[in-house]
């Protein structure tokens, strides 16, 4: 099977790996690179469990070709903590915003992009930001609360 070299930045580190022809970014990150934090939920672009950040914007890794990240900057939940936990991680812990935890990495990515662009989101803006991330456990309410709390905490410490 033909392989393509892909060089990119993953959570701030230079990475190079070979992608199978037509391989999606989710499989590439998980099995090719070994970053298991993006999750397979549907492979149809319908659940958001595989959400990653590419050059500052959310993307569904299951619908992105691996080779499309050549030379680009990819962020995943496994890189969210840099020495200390990110305020979103602290807030998700404090607000019991995860049960099974399977949607959490993707949810955090969507929330991070929101807060990076909009440090003071309204509740409606939070809802809009995570509307593509399904959660079957929590009923969303604690997740919304956690993201709003993280925004507050970030503003206070800024």
């Amino acid at each position: 099977m033909p392989k393509k070299p892909v060089t990119f930045t993953l959570n701030g580190s230079e990475r190079a790996a070979f992608a199978d022809d037509g391989q999606n970014l989710l499989e590439f990150l998980r099995r090719g690179v070994g970053d298991l934090s993006p999750k397979f939920g549907c492979g149809q672009g319908g659940c958001g469990a595989c959400t990653v950040i590419i050059d500052g914007q959310t993307h569904l890794a299951c619908l992105t070709l691996a080779e499309a990240v050549q030379g680009r900057r990819v962020e995943t939940a496994s890189g969210l903590a840099t020495g200390t936990l990110h305020p979103l991680q602290e807030a998700f812990m404090e607000h019991f915003a995860a049960q099974c935890g399977y949607c959490t990495p993707g949810m955090l990515m969507s929330a991070k992009v929101l807060l990076d662009h909009n440090p003071s989101p309204s509740r409606e803006e939070v809802i809009e930001a995570i509307a593509g991330n399904l959660c079957r456990c929590t009923g969303y309410e604690p997740i919304i609360d956690a993201i709003l709390a993280a925004a507050n905490a970030t503003r206070r410490s800024a």
Partner: protein
């Protein structure tokens, strides 16, 4: 928006404990927010192979021939599995409790009874290669008439869905084709009731929809064992099922799970573990078998449909004096766990109310659809929907506030319940009162003064002076199995020697009737062929309940 109403039942609790009652953070939360919680698929294996199943496009069809030769020659294909590769290709999940007859193959080879039933499995280097090879398997189908409605399925002449249960009904206690509940005499009470309220209720199948689909990865381990990473909800349930189907001592299996991306009942069925381990046995390489989302939704067992008929006899003041249920659980093509849910559901009737006359006939019915299984509230959600909508109709019929009606009929500590045990630890009345208060619904003085710990027992603890029983739906030719066994009549005959001994090795084919013609529904006394189905006692993994097959 949550409050803890500590003033209720305060004298029954010690609220001053060190750790209990504290809002301690979850042990697993750090793993969740850092993306490091290890779900079954978060284990990397060199040389991982992928399994995809060939599935029936028909609701009901006989398999004339399966031709896998083209698929075997597709790129990346390591092996194609069919029924003959499964050491013991017939199981029922609750055989671990010795409940019910083995009825479901892992890979079918005689016929299929639902759209999506697996008949072969491709093991390939990549998932894409496995999918491509699935499309190359040629199956010669003989399409059979099918039945999809529960009440049609139990009519005489209906297509036989599962040959093990030719009447399309599970057999309870070796005695009846349904589970009975008889308490008092509903017909007598209906005759003197002021109102009769009747209803029919239907719940369609519902998908558990965990964000992580069901799956397992198995790999050869040292010392001739196999490790299996799994999303199961019951580690030893799945381990025992795999040991049985693979005719392997359970000590050769090492199951690892416990961190699961949601289950909601849909991860009990143990469909993936046996096939993944079989793949690892036959290829010597790690094998992953997991559903994609489409399979999870249409092939993975849902919360099954239920249909309920309820008839109440009600007095002018709102007291319900009789309640009669007829229930149909749509089990789909095989039993899985529906038979269990019915006993659980019957033990729950007539809901949280003290009703002096209760009657229920509940059927586990086979239809040509995806088998049903457990989901959050299993055995209860559907009938509670029915009961509570029905209560609303009763309230309207007698002109009483719906909450007053509930409190009036609510069970209280010391009341006799329809399954003939005394109620204790009740709290329905208090829940009703709290909600009415919060929502500004004015209750009657009697409702406000009611309490779960008052006015129960006494007369209400008495068993009915007379209970109307019957032998409707009797069957013969079946033996009672252990789970829930009682009153199975004469002492059980010694187990006949199995009609088919289980040969070692991979070529075993399950006993199946030679054909599945459209059989007329046999009236009860006929001895059905199912009686001869051997129960694979030697393979029972009996740690679950401590009950061994006799």
């Amino acid at each position: 928006m949550i409050e803890f109403r500590k003033e209720f039942f305060a004298d029954e609790r010690d609220d001053n404990l060190n750790e209990i009652g504290k809002p301690t953070r979850r042990q697993d939360i750090l793993g969740h927010v850092t993306g490091r919680s290890p779900y079954f698929d978060d284990h990397l294996f060199e040389g991982l192979l992928h399994i995809r199943c060939v599935r029936s496009p028909h609701h009901h069809a006989r398999i004339r021939r399966i031709d896998v030769s083209a698929a075997e020659n597709m790129p990346g294909v390591m092996r194609v599995l069919t029924a003959r590769d499964v050491p013991l290709n017939l199981n029922t999940l609750l055989s671990l409790l010795d409940f019910g007859l083995d009825d479901e193959p892992l890979l079918s080879d005689v016929k299929v009874a639902y759209k999506g039933e697996p008949v072969a499995a491709i093991i390939a280097e990549t998932e894409a290669q496995a999918r491509a090879a699935v499309a190359k398997v040629k199956v010669d189908w003989e399409v059979l008439p099918h039945v999809l409605d529960v009440e049609d399925a139990i009519k005489p002449g209906a297509p036989v869905v599962c040959n093990v249960y030719p009447g399309n009904k599970f057999i309870y206690h070796g005695k009846f084709d349904h589970q009975k509940l008889r308490y008092g005499d509903v017909e007598e009470a209906f005759a003197r009731a002021d109102h009769i309220v009747e209803g029919r209720y239907q719940m369609s199948p519902i998908e558990q929809a965990p964000m992580e689909t069901c799956g397992a990865i198995a790999a050869p381990e040292v010392n001739d064992r196999f490790v299996c990473y799994t999303s199961t909800q019951g580690l030893f349930f799945s381990l025992g099922t795999a040991a049985k189907l693979l005719t392997m001592p359970s000590s050769r299996l090492h199951f690892i799970g416990g961190t699961v991306g949601g289950g909601f009942g849909g991860k009990v069925d143990s469909m993936h573990e046996p096939l993944a381990i079989l793949g690892a046995m036959l290829t010597g390489r790690p094998c992953k078998y997991a559903w994609d989302r489409e399979e999870e939704m249409q092939v993975g067992a849902p919360r099954g449909a239920e249909r309920w008929y309820i008839k109440d006899g009600v007095m002018r003041d709102g007291r319900i004096v009789a309640r009669k249920f007829t229930g149909y659980f749509d089990s789909g093509a095989y039993t899985r766990l529906s038979s269990y849910a019915i006993i659980k559901g019957v033990g729950h009737l007539p809901g949280p109310y003290t009703i002096p006359n209760v009657h229920a006939d509940v059927f586990c019915v086979y239809t040509n659809r995806t088998p049903a299984t457990a989901m959050r509230g299993f055995g209860i959600t559907g009938v509670d929907f029915s009961i509570e909508v029905h209560m609303d109709k009763v309230a309207e019929a007698v002109g009483i506030n719906p909450i007053d009606l509930r409190i009036l009929n609510s069970y209280r500590d010391g009341d006799m319940k329809a399954h003939r045990r005394l109620a204790k630890n009740c709290a329905l009345i208090e829940c009703c009162q709290v909600v009415a208060d919060k929502a500004n619904v004015e209750l009657s003085a009697a409702s406000r003064a009611s309490a779960s710990m008052r006015d129960g027992g006494g007369e209400r603890a008495r068993l009915p002076s007379r209970t109307a029983t019957d032998q409707n739906g009797s069957v013969s030719g079946y033996r009672a199995s252990n789970y829930g066994k009682k009153g199975a009549g004469a002492p059980q005959p010694p187990s006949p020697p199995p009609a088919h001994s289980v040969p070692p090795g991979p070529a075993y084919r399950p006993p199946q009737p030679q054909s599945a013609p459209v059989q007329p529904h046999a009236p009860a006394p006929a001895v059905p062929p199912a009686a001869e189905t051997p129960r694979h006692g030697a393979l029972r993994f009996s740690s679950l309940s401590g009950f061994r097959r006799r």
